[in-house]
Amino acid sequence: MRLTILVLAALILSSGVGALAYFFPVLAAGVGQTGQKVNVPLVPGLKATATPVAAPGAPFTVLLLGSDDDSKFSADHVLTQSMILVRVNPGSKQVTMLSIPRDLWVPLSTGGTDKIDKAYSYGRASAAIATVQRNFGVHIDDYAWIGLKGLIRLIDQLGGVDVYVTNPVLDDFYPNDIDVKYLYGYTRVAVLPGAQHLDGSHALQWVRSRHDDVNGDFGRSQRQQQVLLAIRAKATTLNAANLPDIVAAMAGEFKTSMSLARIRALLGVASGFNPANIKQIVLLPPTYTSYGFIGAQSVVLPHWAEILPLVRANFP
């Protein structure tokens, strides 16, 4: 009897060691890439930190940050090409996405007034969060940052994404800065319209190109939201056994203040969302924004009288 118990215990232990080895990359990433601490300066009327405060099952808001190729810049001093506020309501299974124009001219939490994409480069995630919180009057529970290569690898790990491309995206000056020695070259891009399957590189071309978009960065924001939805749709077909590959592929290209528990909960609720319950907001001109020049810089000027009621209604 005792021997049987010992044998069983040893076999269970062996099985546990095998499982531990399999999920080790996930655990390592959990320590290194999730649960990042950020100290967000106090904002009157708002909660103080970006650490998780929402109770389990309660709505929460995440600031998604997508960055330019960081090899052009010193580590963690990158511009955020993409800033998307995402509010998730697990109870009602509703998601709201609001894209913040990267050239939005706002007071930065680090001081002075500049384009909002510079907040991260001056003060990393805490500055980006504080700047958004102060200007938009919204509380942010967490952030998630992904680099360009991280997005490519994530989509490739998902086996590509299926999207509907509304119009040809043609760009003669697309940055040729991924896995090349000279980071300031250009290449040509032509993404043709219609439903199609995109791998990571082509999906990045689609969401990053902006030179020939009649709506500039706003058009790009709409494409970014569509790829996010396509990623969500594809991610719902994955399971825990896929996590080590995904984590390994995104090593160094992903950081978040979310804990592993929150990420797991987020993935859990993501599969239950109906696309009809996902609201997409882009601060299109002329209602919410307008183009302008500050000095020699082309910027996007916010119309706060229109923006703030919209934010209050969708990010209570």
């Binding site: 499982a19 509907y164 119009n167 040809p168 040509r188 199609q196 978009d213 709506n215």
Partner: protein
């Protein structure tokens, strides 16, 4: 002694269990990541389509005939189209920076390079896509990114003699700036052409199907910007137009409308929802082939759907009127209401596991 021996034997067993657990967990991965596309030549279609069809998978050109795929060319090919006499193909060969039109025989051998769009200076390169040969086989229409000005790169519809040179090519349309421009030309009898024009409104860029009676004329929008329709396909008898419409969403509808040569009748929805691409008429006009994802992997597969009868156009429907300049967004609002068919139409999946290139319409004769 026996106990020690048993323990020694037990250690390998523990290693086997640990390794087995590791491998078992690996085997539980979703097929989405693991499942690559198969070569069409190793796949037997679920049923035999009539005639001959050409499709593209990852730059390779395949012929589907009598239920068998045969690879006829490899090397970044796209958008094959058959000549009206069914004797040759015109297809696009794409590189990183440019694309060119080629005349091919039916076995994929190059007869002639029609365009020369490559250049050493990056922005001196050009794209040529969507070739279509005119009914008399005298010319080929296509989308070409010229003229372009700095960041502004938009497709216009161009036409060039099939037996001529690119220097003889002439531009037919003026695109709306920074919208991506005009694509998908379909030469009609005489000098007319159907094509897709993109325009911008308060919600984003939308596509419309336009009719241009002759070069230099603005023509008419046949669909509204709100309907967001593109990828037109004209039936063999030119009496019906199939198209993909989205209504500005990420979900597509396959619609068919009667066409009297200049005007569209009331469209009906054949299939609604999901992602549908590149409707292509069967040689007898009885059905449409198209691409759509199948299964959780999301590979675009070949499907077929019967069309049935469509009430012909008897009186011209109100068509959207464009604004005065082709370079401005259309204000079209008068697209006929969409009617749905009474009997359910069941699409049939023709291929499995292929991941066909959804931006390259099949050509079928």
């Amino acid at each position: 002694m026996m106990r020690r021996l048993a323990m020694l034997l037990f250690i390998p067993l523990m290693l086997v269990v640990a390794s087995g657990t590791y491998l078992y967990l690996g085997s539980l991965k979703s097929k989405v990541v693991k499942e690559g596309a198969k070569l069409p030549t190793v796949v037997k279609p679920k049923f035999e389509l009539p005639g001959t069809m050409y499709v593209v998978q990852a730059g390779a050109l395949f012929k589907l005939e009598k239920g068998v795929f045969t690879q006829v060319a490899s090397g970044n090919w796209a958008q094959p189209t058959i000549t009206p006499d069914h004797s040759k193909l015109v297809a696009v060969q794409r590189s990183d920076q440019s694309s060119d039109l080629y005349l091919l025989d039916l076995n994929g051998h190059i007869i002639k390079q029609l365009t020369h769009d490559g250049a050493r200076i990056i922005d001196a390169n050009h794209w040529a896509f969507y070739p279509r040969v005119s009914a008399d086989s005298s010319s080929v229409m296509y989308s070409y990114d010229s003229p372009k000005y700095g960041f502004q790169v938009d497709f216009s519809i161009w036409s060039m003699p099939l037996n001529g040179t690119q220097a003889q090519a002439r531009r037919r349309t003026t695109p709306n700036d920074h919208t991506g421009g005009d694509v998908n030309p379909i030469p009609l009898a005489g000098t007319a052409v159907l094509y897709v024009k993109h325009s911008n409104d308060a919600t984003g860029v939308r596509s419309q199907i336009w009719y241009q009676p002759r070069s230099g004329f603005l023509g008419d929008a046949l669909t509204s910007a709100a309907d967001d329709c593109g990828q037109p396909a004209l039936s063999p008898d030119h009496s019906q137009l199939a198209m993909i419409c989205t209504g500005g969403t990420q979900s597509t509808r396959l619609e068919v409308a009667p066409f009297n040569g200049t005007t569209l009748g009331t469209p009906r929805v054949l299939i609604g929802g999901g992602l549908i691409a590149q409707p292509t008429w069967s040689p007898d006009g009885a059905g449409l082939a198209y691409f759509a994802p199948a299964g959780i992997v999301g590979h675009f597969e070949l499907w077929w759907v019967p069309v049935g009868t469509v009430v012909p156009v008897t009186t011209p429907k109100p068509t959207p009127k464009p604004t005065a300049s082709a370079t401005r967004a259309s204000t079209a609002t008068a697209t006929p209401a969409v009617s749905t068919t009474a009997a359910p139409i069941v699409p049939l999946q023709v291929t499995t596991g292929l991941d066909l290139t959804a931006t390259s319409a099949p050509t079928w004769y």
